[in-house]
């Protein structure tokens, strides 16, 4: 076991600490996050690899849809207004699926935040992931925290210039790769890649790449934590999402205070000392540049790197891990009451320990059952209901549809033999990438027949017509009923369309108008 004095003490202070609170519009204080190592850091590397992998590789996945549709697994075909997602093809009128997924993402975010705090911010948010990536580059080129601070404070030498140019170049390359990957979601990726490098891609592709390169470089390299603190609305909303049972990154001052850099000396005077040795490791690793020991705060994205840093220090000191840990407010409050003897005194860490230095049985620890509470049940219920609803709707949705517009002007036409004619615009939607022959039949409307404008289809009550794959076919149909068969000024009848090969069918209930007295 090492002596406390052997732990490296880092010069670091929170940028928003009350001691140095500054004017409303102050220049940004530079933050030089130190590399952390530990379980959470390893988990973040994993999340980073997975999320970046999904982002960059998805457009390159292929999915065979036959000769009449693109073979890109995920494709947002704006020009043809189709969205392809593996086995799902979405037409514009089915965009509610995307809206539904967004609602699910929102409720999912509520669920995650109410249980494990701002896990989205800390691990999966693109801003966090890309800043992490930019920091990897920065560390690789300029070194870790101390080297970077020294370089930053030092004069402009050739070496500094070279390192900086190198760093910003790599950042810009990452930015360009980010923008470059984005556009592949909107066109056939291999074709577009070729076009992009031969200069034959659409101008909008280059503009998009340029804009995303600029935003990635600015947000990930230059603005970093300021995006989260000043631009993002979520830190403001999180206050409404967290409750006393939500896990958040917490400094457990019930065991850490009073903090002291000279624990031995203080203990020698008979005063109690907490576990915190005020080494500032937690501040040094923080990508937001804050001090978690100031309590839960807006700037904290709960990336848990301070936990890793502090656990490392506690290991060196031979103390229990978890001076900074994921804890709920209710556990924290219970332990604080214990340590302050019901809130009467300042923190006395000896109150939470037994005589032999172990935690007393009265110390509250997180239990998994805290996740299951009415609030999270409601979120889980909403989430699954929407999900099941979307799934049901997806599995039972029509791939053959008919829409009918009834001519309004004129509503009906009297023909020379006294019969009445109504005009309809019939739209056949073949929503699969296969050519089909659709049979259109009219049901009801006694004695009536229909004819199609411009096609050599004999008048009758049923006709078959080919429809191109994945297309809408618009027909002008005239329905005609002999005068003696007319029953009333507005008769209801049905257009039925069916694909006799797949047994799919759809119906549209239409009205047939006739004058007050037919003759």
């Amino acid at each position: 076991m090492l002596d406390k004095t052997q732990v490296e003490r880092l010069e670091a202070e929170a940028v928003n600490s009350a001691r140095i609170r500054q004017r409303l519009y102050a220049p940004r204080k530079k933050i030089f996050p130190k590399r952390a190592s530990g379980n959470f850091r390893r988990f973040k590397w994993l999340v980073m690899a997975i999320t970046l992998g999904i982002y960059y590789l998805t457009p390159w996945l292929r999915w065979d849809r036959g000769p009449f549709a693109p073979d890109q697994a995920v494709l947002l075909d704006v020009a043809n207004r189709r969205f392809y997602f593996f086995f799902i093809e979405i037409w514009p009128q089915e965009f509610f699926y995307v809206a539904g997924l967004l609602v699910m993402a929102g409720v999912g975010l509520f669920l995650i935040t109410s249980t494990v705090g701002r896990a989205w911010c800390g691990y999966a948010c693109p801003q966090t992931v890309w800043v992490d990536l930019f920091l990897v580059v920065e560390r690789a080129i300029e070194g870790d925290r101390n080297a970077r601070m020294k370089l930053d404070a030092g004069p402009w030498t050739a070496r500094k210039l070279m390192l900086r140019v190198f760093k910003h170049t790599i950042w810009l390359v990452i930015g360009a790769a980010t923008g470059g990957a984005w556009i592949f979601y909107f066109a056939d990726a291999p074709t577009l890649l070729g076009e992009l490098f031969t200069g034959t891609a659409a101008p909008v592709a280059y503009i998009t790449v340029a804009v995303l390169t600029a935003t990635t470089y600015t947000f990930g390299g230059l603005m970093r934590e300021q995006v989260c603190t000043y631009m993002c609305p979520w830190p403001r909303i999180q206050a409404a999402m967290l409750d006393e049972s939500s896990l958040t990154v917490t400094y457990n001052d019930w065991r850490g205070e009073p903090r002291s850099r000279h624990a031995k000396k203080v203990q020698a005077t008979g005063q109690s000392v907490g576990d915190c040795v005020d080494c500032n490791a937690c501040v040094a690793v923080c990508p937001m540049g804050i001090d978690i020991r100031d309590g839960q705060q807006l700037e904290c994205i709960t990336c848990a790197l301070c936990i890793d840093a502090c656990d490392g220090v506690m290991d060196k000191l031979g103390k229990e891990r978890g001076l900074i840990s994921y804890a709920t407010l209710s556990d924290y409050n219970a332990n604080m009451m214990l340590a302050t003897a019901g809130g009467a005194n300042s923190v006395n860490p000896s109150l939470v320990r037994t005589a032999d230095g172990l935690f007393s049985d009265k110390v509250s620890h997180f239990h998994i059952r805290k996740i299951f509470r009415p609030r999270t049940y409601v979120y889980m219920g909403m989430w699954s209901l929407i999900g099941l609803g979307l799934l049901y709707s997806l599995l039972t949705r029509d791939r053959l549809e008919v829409n009918v517009l009834h001519d309004r002007n004129p509503q009906f036409v009297t023909l020379s033999d006294g019969s009445i004619r109504n005009g309809y615009t019939v739209k056949l939607l073949n929503m699969i990438p296969e050519p089909r022959t659709i049979v259109v039949t009219m049901q009801g409307l006694q004695g009536a027949d229909m004819s199609v404008v411009g096609d050599d289809i004999p008048a009758g009550r049923s006709f078959a017509i080919p429809v191109e794959p994945d297309r809408l076919k618009m027909l002008k149909v005239f329905v005609r009923q002999p005068a003696e068969q007319i029953r009333g000024t507005a008769q209801i009848f049905t257009f039925r369309v069916e694909d006799r090969a797949s047994f799919e069918a759809d119906e549209y209930t239409a009205t047939f108008n006739a004058p007050e007295i037919a003759r």
Binding site: R23, Y25, D407, P410, L415, S416, G418
Partner: protein
């Protein structure tokens, strides 16, 4: 208040303005904001040099880029003309029946004709070409002068009873009130009405048929089916331009109303008339 005053709580200097003891803090704008503002100023200056902007006495500065929204519209219209040039050329060179037989060409011509119809024809024929009393419905299958695309084209080009066009469609039903007796008018009206419906006094039909045979068959035909060459209407069908029933028929026999349609060939040009003919032919009654 010339001395700088520092607010104690915030540590920020104040502007020196004070209202009832409340002082205004002098927080400068964030730098990025200020710089954005400067950039917009510079941009605005450059913009007014590049584009038409500054008003002068009788005009405005032209701008070094030579941009003008009028020219832009002109160019867009020219581009649209070029884009549809292929179809327009085809409409010009082909006959209306050829146009009507070609799906794509018919669609183009009918759209263009529909637009021309809205401007020139709706005043009499109605916005849906549904007509009204005295003005024919163009959706139905009853045609005074023929319902093929060519016949419709001919009618639009030269009009009907349009005095200044030598080739205009011309028919004139005499006012039989001066030629036959009132009894004979009642008889012939009953006969004509009986061809497509019921009449109240069936005893008039027989003498009416005689009157009809003596006076009307020349234009309306032996079987009263009309004659499109002469513009003689079919009297056996359900469509009546000036009203159905014995009274309306008697009125028309006594002192006929005769509609006039202007000749459009000279005003709209051959291409536009072709497009109109294709549009009307496609309304559902074309032959």
């Amino acid at each position: 208040m010339s001395d700088e005053h520092i607010d104690e709580i915030s540590g920020v200097s104040t502007t020196g303005h004070e209202w009832d003891g409340i002082r205004e803090l002098n927080n400068p704008l964030p730098r990025w904001w200020v710089w954005t503002f400067y950039i917009t100023v510079v941009w605005a200056i450059g913009y007014t040099i590049a584009y038409p902007a500054w008003p002068l006495l009788h005009s405005a500065t032209k701008g070094v880029l030579g941009y003008s929204s009028r020219n832009e519209v002109k160019n867009e219209l020219a581009a649209a003309e070029v884009a549809k040039g292929k179809y327009v050329a085809a409409v010009e060179s082909k006959s209306v029946s050829e146009i009507a037989a070609d799906d794509a060409l018919r669609e183009f011509a009918a759209a263009a004709g529909g637009a021309a119809f809205k401007v020139n024809c709706t005043q009499c024929h109605g916005s849906g070409a549904q007509g009204s009393a005295g003005f024919p419905n163009l959706n139905d299958d009853d045609w005074l002068w023929g319902g093929t695309a060519e016949q419709i084209q001919q009618t639009i080009t030269h009009g009907i009873r349009f005095a200044t066009d030598a080739e205009t469609r011309l028919s004139e039903m005499p006012a039989f009130g001066d030629i036959i007796t009132a009894d004979q008018i009642a008889q012939v009206s009953a006969y004509v009405a009986s061809l497509s419906g019921k009449v109240h006094d069936a005893s008039l039909i027989q003498p009416g048929a005689k009157v009809f045979a003596d006076n009307c068959v020349a234009c309306h035909g032996d079987n009263a089916k009309g004659n499109k060459e002469l513009g003689g209407p079919d009297l056996t069908d359900a469509i009546w331009l000036y009203g159905s029933g014995e009274t309306a028929i008697a009125d028309q026999v006594r002192a006929p109303k005769q509609g006039v349609m202007p000749a459009w060939g000279a005003r709209l040009g051959e291409t536009k008339v072709k497009e109109l003919a294709v549009y009307i032919h496609s309304l559902g009654g074309g032959e």
